[in-house]
Amino acid sequence: MALMTVIEAVRSTLDEALAEDDRVFILGEDVEAGGVFRATEGLKARYGERIIDSPLSESSIIGVSIGAAHYGLRPIAEIQFADFIHAGFDQLCSEASRWSYRTRGDAWLPMVVRTPWGGGVHGGQHHSQSIEAFYSHMPGIKVVAPAFPADYRSLLKAAIADPNPVLFLEHKRTYRLIRQEMDGAPAETRIGRARITRRGNDLTIFAYGLMLHESLVAAETLSGEGIEATVVDLLTLNPIDHETILEAAKATGKVLIVHEDVLTGGLGGEIAAIIAEHAFEYLDAPIRRVAGPDIPAMPFHHAMEDFFMPNRDKIATAARELAAY
């Protein structure tokens, strides 16, 4: 048993994938030197030409990955910050997401695009974004956003093995913040399943990434006050796990959805719609959302950044109101 951080989980899984399958290679900006978050540290020395520094051009990092995956390799692209992935939106949306669909499965793309996302790191408007809603709106691309190191390992392994494009979101605030006791190989898992991480009878909280951890802390605080929350780690944002969402919502009848992304058009709207459509009779209260405010992006100054970010206190406050409804 050893304590492993999120970044160590990512790095070790990349290392293992490179060792196991010589079709796997990594491309991205600064990856040869280890990457700005050091996710690829040490890999260049071990895998040589399979670790490729790319020009600073996100569209081509994704487009080249498409070509290489089409040829039968298994590229893992790193986009340095999720905020910069939009230059590759066209390659993801118009090309990668439709590759299988438009050929009826004659062609497919076993590729992974890893990228650090999320706020709380004084990253300002262009190093803090939540991008998951844009890309979860694209059937054909799988979007994964784990919270715990063990899930980073098992889901990254599953993403690399998947015959479809997978956008693998790594919350940058958690890279060195979250540790977990781990041993041995990653658990076998498949993309597309949410997990009920904590069970309680009074309300259900849905979250992912950093907000999953904040929700778990809030749930412990609430427990001390006699309010027991179920907490669901969504893990895969597209295609989203309807079954687990509905099961967890029905179990308590009160739903709180948490994300850093701005409120309007965020995934909370979709989750709320799934529940409203299929579990309306089970609800005992209006669905609540705790999300970033509807401003274009996270401001830089720490006071304004804190104002933007949902956190354990904001979650607990909303949960208390919901429990009391």
């Binding site: 290679f25 030409e49 399979r50 490729i52 790319s54 020009p55 051009s57 569209s59 081509s60 487009g63 080249v64 990955s65 498409i66 070509g67 290489a68 995956a69 089409h70 040829y71 039968g72 390799l73 590229p75 230059a87 066209d90 390659q91 118009s94 090309e95 439709r98 590759w99 299988s100 669909y101 438009r102 050929t103 009826r104 499965g105 004659d106 062609a107 497919w108 793309l109 059937p139 054909g140 799988k142 015959p163 479809n164 295609p239």
Partner: protein, 341 residues
């Protein structure tokens, strides 16, 4: 089916020095160019009859397409074409019947099974990369395929195409950049047909030739007469050979001309001077080719006529057959969103 079967006599496979092509290859070149043009004509007729919703054609670009595609090793090399590349598709093995299936978005069209507009080609079996309507995205895919092939030490070449209008997009430059940095075996083949819908060259680029841009990427390149299939072959073939042997990418521009409107929905009389069209029509690539091989005595007139008759018959039969083929079922819209292995 190639011209081989249409000929009464066995044709020589021996290269004719002046052409760098054998008699058989010259016959094939004529056949493919003619088949492409006549198919496009029949497609437009079907559109005007209300039987085909949309046609986007390559009339005027057949020499560029057929000449370049014949320089590749079919079954080995990759093609990442664009929507006007019917001529390339024919060289890469698509039959007249299959072209008609695609036009009519029939269930069994292996390009996209009715899921894309016509002329959005793709077939992994034939090493043709699936494409969208977004122009030049395929340039980057071509670089990726070539990077993967280089990593695996596979001696293949990727040829990718676009029109000159597409060279304004970032993906054009990003792909050239990648290919030049890694010395990838890619032929970037730009068919400069004079127009991006209504916009003439000078609205889209400050340089005189697209191929001038090779300098920015320190890559090899050339301009060739895209109305002359033989000249195109003679330009592209050495580039393909070089690229296959580790010589890196090439940017080749074929100067051709879009003889028709942008698509079946476009009225080019709004923006194109009639005089200009008349001048270019004199350089029709199919006519030029026929005149040359006939006057050089490569083929007697009756042999060329015979190819022509064969093409007519093939297309007539193909259209009739394709119209009878099954359409996709409505619910065929679903499925294959994700690949399952």
């Amino acid at each position: 089916m190639t011209a081989t079967r249409t000929s009464r006599r066995a044709r020589s496979q021996e290269t004719i020095d002046e052409y760098l092509l054998s008699e058989q290859q010259l016959a094939d070149m004529y056949y493919y160019m003619l088949l492409a043009r006549r198919l496009n004509e029949r497609m437009l007729a079907l559109n005007r009859q209300g039987r085909a919703p949309f046609v986007i054609a390559g009339a005027g670009q057949e020499a560029a397409q057929v000449g370049a595609a014949m320089a590749l090793k079919r079954g080995t090399d990759y093609l990442a074409p664009y929507y006007r590349d019917l001529g390339m598709m024919l060289v890469f093995g698509m039959t007249a019947r299959e072209a008609m299936l695609n036009l009519l978005a029939k269930r069994d069209d292996w390009n996209s099974y009715g899921r894309q507009m016509p002329s959005h080609w793709g077939s992994p079996d034939r090493k043709i990369v699936t494409q969208s309507s977004v122009v030049t995205t395929q340039f980057v895919h071509a670089a990726g395929i070539a990077l993967a092939a280089k990593m695996k030490k596979d001696p293949i070449v990727v040829l990718t195409c676009c029109g000159e209008g597409s060279t304004s997009r970032g993906d054009f430059h990003e792909a050239l950049n990648w290919a030049a940095i890694h010395q990838l075996p890619v032929i970037f083949f730009v068919q400069n047909n004079g127009y991006a819908i209504s916009e003439r060259n000078e609205k889209a680029m400050p340089v005189k030739h697209v191929a001038d841009r090779k300098r920015a990427y320190d890559m090899q390149g050339a301009v060739c007469d895209g109305m002359d299939g033989i000249a195109v072959y003679q330009t592209v073939r050495p580039a393909v050979d070089q690229a296959r042997n580790g010589g890196g990418p090439h940017l080749i521009e074929a100067k051709c001309y879009r003889l028709w409107a942008h698509s079946s929905d476009d009225d080019d009389s709004r923006y194109r001077p009639k005089k200009e069209l008349e001048e270019w029509a004199k350089k029709d690539p199919i006519k030029l080719f026929r005149d040359r091989v006939e006057s050089d005595g490569i083929f007697p007139r009756e042999e060329l006529d015979e190819i022509e008759a064969r093409v007519e018959e093939e297309i007539r039969e193909a259209a009739q057959w394709a119209l009878m083929q099954p359409d996709p079922a409505p619910e065929d819209a679903l499925g294959f969103v994700y690949k399952e292995l």
